[in-house]
């Protein structure tokens, strides 16, 4: 199962850390967490994937849904530190070509 850490750092960036398996069962809780963040006024979000051991396309779908919500609020969603297993899932759908992972959650909004 997946655990979800959500915090807002000192620059006002929301940091979401899914631990464990981000799959069709847990995707919805990620989607809800991202929605809540944006609705509560945090429009810049980074999803730190360093502790995500497994991800499927439903997990990617939740990320895209979060990206949509964030962008519509004038912000952005970025990802950081995907593991090789997770990177493979990005590559299968070409998502790696359009969504660039950042090296760390802290530096995700540096550019």
């Amino acid at each position: 199962m997946m655990e979800l850490d959500v915090r807002t750092d000192e620059r006002g960036v929301g940091v979401v850390v899914p631990r464990g398996r981000l799959n069709m069962v847990s995707a919805r809780s990620l989607r809800d967490a991202l929605d809540t963040l944006v609705n509560d006024g945090t429009h810049r979000i980074v999803v730190d994937l360093a502790e995500t051991t497994f991800m499927d396309s439903s997990g990617l779908g939740a990320l895209i849904a979060g990206l949509k919500t964030a962008r519509q609020a004038g912000g952005d969603l970025r990802i950081a530190r995907p593991t090789p297993a997770v990177t493979t899932v990005f590559e299968l759908t070409n998502l790696d070509k359009v969504l660039r992972p950042r090296e760390s959650a802290e530096a995700a909004f540096d550019d």
Partner: protein, 702 residues
């Protein structure tokens, strides 16, 4: 009536059958090519080219059809009984409904609930009906309606309904059922086993209808398609998804949705940048040409230059491979700041432009299609309009917004089921195959469906299938799908090709009529050569049908594939108008319930066929009179054409029995219901005959 389950064959028997089939396929191909080559090279009557050339083209069309059929049969794959199901996967059963009677949907829902393998049952109620919600609650099945995100956005019919439900559920596998397809309790036990292959995305089972008499006057059953044709396609890993009675792996669909999203966004952003550059360049030029009526012309010109620079930069970055989401994000922020500067400069004189822009934003944000299929013409139109400078800024913003990564015009960024066609299933399946997934066809009836019971509903349904298939061919031509294997491309193409038969049918009607009336022969001579080459081809062709059908009735399908020629022609013309000219498909709304008997018969529906029959019969009589009374024409030519006329008449006669058909009357035998010992009486209300489009096989045949 009944249909047997999978035919039990030993591996040796199956292998022997396949050898036999291949021998006949080769024979058919050799004899067919021999005949048609001879026709082109030696026997076209060029003097009467206006009928001779269409005829030889029609014959070539039929040869290609026959070759594609042979290719389909080459690797006929009989999977036999399904492997045992994995013990612990999660399954959602989806029953798609739009406006069918609640009782009919609940009948399916009860049967779905009674499916043995553990699962959850959901009614996908696109009608959002309170009584349906209550019925679902009472029955203890889930009820799903569109989320608020769909308000004022393209609904995409059944594909949209399924896409909405996909995000509301989480089972690893989905069983998709039309509202009138009552599943048997073993349907999951007999299909899930195929998914032990991790690349297996889809298992399709037959659609078979209980309210159809043995004679099948409307050609509802498709025993050849749901049988050898699907098995043949399966052999090439191209078994089709047909919209209902199929189990799908969620991961495959979601992957399709995500990769589709990426593709659409890429295409859309590139297009917006290209068009945006044209608009701004145009505005910049007009600013130079005419002295601006506004005071801030210089500032506006500078802003436009900045935008042009940013567009160029964004395009260069994309070309360099910079991640698209980063490029669009930066681009939008820069555009936003330029815009703020302009607004801050108090350009109130330009307010009137903003009103026009608001309209345009509406236009850009509400494409009826998915973004990547936004009509280039619409964008062109935007570019061609005369724009004042701030208007240009706003238009670029509007366009970039419309095609930005959030896909604001759609209810969901992820649309796993394809929405490019009225038949979502074929396009979806083709994309799954493109991604490298596998599909299987399991030849066992595991659901009992209801077919249309009147000729009008039947014809509307066939038209929609055909239109959907042709739409896919025009929008995503399978021959150009580089990630499909060549046989896979041909399997999809074969189905599309078969719908061209409408045009060939016209020629096949015209040729004998013209000979019998005017004595004009499209071939140079009806010689021994002609018979020696043609007859063996026709015989092996029928032999192939006979062998692969293996006792299944094929005649009705053969009749309808010619007799519905006006429907096939209309499907091409209307889909062409839709895809290339932006027209609506313009089909009559499918009648929801069987037409009440009003005494009259809807002969007007088959007018073209009746006219054709009249022409054929009349020309037959005249030809005979010409021969016997006036000694005009050769006896051989006349008798051959009379035979041809008779054959056509027998084919077309099917429309007469179709029009005269009064709906299904069970002949005393109870309709077997799953999970019920006692036969259930037929619903007393007029039987709903609404059907959803599935692709493929028209009046059957290939």
């Amino acid at each position: 009536m009944s249909r047997r389950g999978p035919v039990e064959r030993t591996p040796q028997q199956a292998a022997r059958r396949l050898v036999l089939i291949r021998v006949i396929v080769v024979l058919t191909a050799v004899l067919g090519v021999n005949y048609v080559a001879w026709r082109w090279l030696f026997s076209v009557h060029w003097g009467a080219w206006w009928i001779a050339v269409p005829l030889v083209i029609a014959e070539t069309y039929s040869l290609v059809d026959s070759l594609l059929f042979g290719l389909t049969m080459w690797r006929l794959k009989d999977r036999g009984a399904a492997p045992p199901p994995p013990p612990d996967v999660t399954v959602d059963v989806f029953i798609t409904s739009y406006n069918e009677p609640v009782e009919m949907v609940m009948r399916t829902a009860r049967a779905a609930k009674a499916i043995r393998y553990p699962h959850e049952t959901w009614v996908l109620d696109d009608g959002n009906r309170e009584e349906m919600r209550l019925a679902c609650e009472a029955e203890g099945v889930g009820w799903i309606t569109r989320s608020s995100a769909w308000t004022d956005r393209p609904r995409h019919a059944k594909a949209g309904n399924l896409n909405n439900a996909l995000l509301a559920t989480e089972g690893e596998f989905l069983l998709i059922l039309d509202a009138d397809q009552v599943p048997l309790p073993e349907i999951l036990d007999h299909t899930l086993g195929f998914f032990t292959d991790e690349q297996m995305a889809l298992v399709q089972t037959p659609q078979w209808f209980v309210n159809v008499p043995e004679s099948d006057p409307l050609g509802s059953q498709a025993p050849l398609f749901y049988g050898p044709i699907q098995q043949g396609k399966d052999g090439w890993n191209a078994a089709f998804f047909c919209g209902s009675n199929a189990v799908i792996r969620r991961e495959a669909l979601m992957q399709l949705g995500v990769s589709g999203y990426v593709g659409e966004v890429e295409v859309g952003v590139h297009r917006a940048l290209r068009t945006g550059r044209r608009i701004v360049t145009e505005a910049r030029r007009s600013l130079e040409r005419d002295p601006s009526p506004h005071d801030n012309a210089a500032q506006v010109a500078a802003a436009l230059d900045k935008i042009l620079y940013d567009i160029g930069r964004a395009r260069r970055e994309l070309a360099r491979g910079v991640a698209l989401f980063d490029v669009t994000y930066r681009f939008q922020r820069r555009l936003a700041s330029i815009r703020r500067e302009l607004v801050a400069a108090d350009l109130h004189a330009l307010r009137s432009d903003l009103a026009i822009v608001a309209e345009l934003e509406g236009l850009a944000a509400d494409p009826d299609e998915r973004l990547a299929t936004v009509d280039e013409a619409v964008l062109e139109q935007l570019a061609q309009r005369e724009w004042s400078p701030l208007g240009a800024v706003e238009t670029v913003q509007a366009l970039v917004d419309a095609v930005d990564v959030d896909r604001a015009a759609e209810a969901q960024p992820i649309m796993p089921l394809a929405t490019i066609s009225v038949t979502e299933d074929m396009a979806t399946c083709m994309r799954l195959h493109s991604l490298g997934w596998r599909s299987a066809y399991h030849d066992e009836v595991l659901a009992h469906g209801l077919a249309p019971e009147d000729v009008q509903t039947m014809m509307t349904q066939r038209l929609r299938w055909a239109q959907g298939t042709v739409q896919v061919m025009f929008r995503e031509n399978p021959l150009r799908q580089r990630r499909l294997s060549v046989p896979q491309r041909l399997m999809y193409f074969a189905t599309m090709w078969s719908y061209l038969s409408g045009f060939a049918a016209v020629v096949y009607i015209a040729a004998p009529v013209i000979y019998l009336l005017f004595g004009i022969l499209p071939v140079q001579a009806i010689s021994t050569d002609f018979f020696i080459r043609l007859v063996p081809f026709l015989i092996v062709n029928q032999l192939l049908f006979w062998v692969v059908a293996d006792g299944r009735p094929t005649w009705r399908g053969q009749q309808y594939s010619l007799a519905l020629f006006p429907v096939w022609i209309k499907s091409f013309t209307s889909a062409f108008g839709n895809v290339f000219l932006g027209r609506t498909l313009d089909f009559a709304v499918t009648p929801k319930v069987r037409r009440e008997d009003d005494g009259g018969r809807p002969w007007h529906l088959v007018k073209p066929q009746l006219v054709a029959m009249g022409l054929l019969a009349g020309s037959g009589v005249i030809g005979l009179v010409r021969l016997l009374a006036f000694d005009q024409g050769s006896p051989l030519g006349v008798y051959l054409n009379l035979f041809w006329v008779a054959f056509d008449l027998v084919i077309f006669s099917v429309v007469i029995s179709a029009v005269r058909y009064r709906g299904f009357q069970p002949a005393g035998q109870p309709v077997e219901q799953p999970g019920e010992a006692a036969p259930e009486p037929r619903p007393t209300a007029p039987l709903p005959a609404v059907r959803r489009p599935v692709p493929t096989h028209r009046g059957e045949r290939r």
